[in-house]
Amino acid sequence: MSDEKPLLKIRDLRTYFYTYKGVVKALEGVNLRIGTNELLGLVGETGCGKTVTGLSILRLIDPPGKIIGGEIVFGGEDLLKLRENEMSERIRGKKISMVFQEPRSSLNPTYTVGSQISEAIRLHQRVDKREATRRAVSILRQTGMPDPERIAGEYPHELSGGMAQRAMIAMALSCDPELLIADEPTSSLDVTIEAQILELIKDLITKFRTSVLLITHDLGIVAETCDKVAVMYAGNVIEYGDVRDIFKRHRHPYTEGLLNAVPKLKMSGELYTIKGTVPNLITPPTGCRFHPRCPEARKECSEFKPSDVEVEPGHSVSCFLYKG
């Protein structure tokens, strides 16, 4: 299964934030891989480090945050070893691009949508203004935008949320990237638009042959759109596998809890919640970060950090319940 060379491989990624209260260990050894043409869902609660993972891949972590260590191997090279200007010239927007949560605040309010897309094109491709504008309109058309010529001349505040997100996706895909990081691209949109946007992302990745890292907290979205799933908890990926494996044969107690916490129609009694609260990442629990809330915690859980165990080919868990 995993013998095929992945497009992106993250190993032991650690990102810390040096705040005045103390060091926030936002990512503590994240392992992740995304194959070519694959849609990976990254799920977890708020504050577990999903967005920080996305930003770390593009090296967009600003002080007081800092990537402390690990490896982000993309297309054979370690992104953490590149210089800042190499990142912006060769990687950002060209090979890896990102779509953010709030589409309308992700567009500069003072420029038209068309000029922003053509700016993105001209950052990486040697084309003149007119050609860039033509391409911008054509890519807007591909995102299913009605009347793309008119939209290109409009300002972000004149668009609806869904349209703005289409424009953002157009911008992100304008240079034909190999990886698209979508950070909760639909959480500010209403349900019908959400479905359209997800459909669009799925469509475009087949058309553009792009891989996607879809960051979300919505398990429904994951079940519907993703090929692979990575579950994060307090700065670690605790379970990774095929979408079917995760939903049907999940192993980690946290994944179990997370899935049980999804409301279902035929339900008796109260909605399940995982007891306890998300840990403070300045003084995270020792050992497995989930052990204070884990129903199956044992002695070793509070002492040692579990490592990833491959329980089935392509399905790994980091938990002491499973050993080799």
């Binding site: 593009l58 967009l60 010239e89 950002r92 060209k94 950052l123 001349g153």
Partner: protein, 301 residues
Amino acid sequence: MGVGAGKSFLQWLDRWKTEHEAMLDDFKYSLHLLRRSPLSMVGLILISTFLFIAVFAPFLTKYDPIEQDLSNRLQPPCSENPFGRDQLGRDIMSRVIYGSRISLRIGITVIAIAATTGTVLGVVAGYLGGRIDEIVMRITDMFLAFPSLILAMAISAALGRSLENTVVAIGMVAWPRYARLARGQTLSVKEEQFIEAVRSLGASRKRIIFSHVLPQCLPPIIVQATLNMGGIILTAAGLGFIGFGAQPPIPEWGIMISDGRNFIMREWWVSTFPGLAMLFAVLGFNLLGDGLRDVLDPRLR
């Protein structure tokens, strides 16, 4: 052929209009808001008059502002010389009219120098942060720690007294305000999501600073520049008055007021008319600046 060129220009204008419709609408709305406030209209009228006088100075007076006529010295206002003549027999009205050119030139060049350097330094310092920010801001603190007129005097005295050095001196005193203002604005713009979005698209720092952050900082800078214009005219006149600025026989308002000091009790017109001219010019800029602030501040719309 001329007709063809005119036609294509009209076509271009039409296209430009449709492409920039939103911008034009915004501009029209701003004008509408400005028109609703009577005080800023007064400011606008004063400034327009001032600009008109400065531009068309040679057509508005038949006298040379530096030509002396000692036989008619200190002549009171009359139909021939509405503002009278000074101690060397020069026509005060034409000196006031030509003086508007001097003030305007000082004002515009100082603003151009101070606002550009200040804004660029402030935006760069604010965006890059860290040590560069610290250095730039401490320098502005040093400049702001001195009373600005005293500092301008010192610089102007050190460089030598002339009109050009007055401009340099005032410019060096005026830039820190712009730097601070631009930095403050940058700090808030920098946190906007769209800055992160353009970074994720691979825009370089230079590009982000100059085409995404800087334009967002301009409205308060424009307001500050307009309000500052009055202050700069006053400072320039102040320097002229105490002899550190422009040198005679340049018809500079400060020098003219200073010239009249000895005669103020009996020959009041020598100081009064340049003083009034200055009053109206400064008042005009302040009123217009206030109006612009209200118009350009989105929170007050």
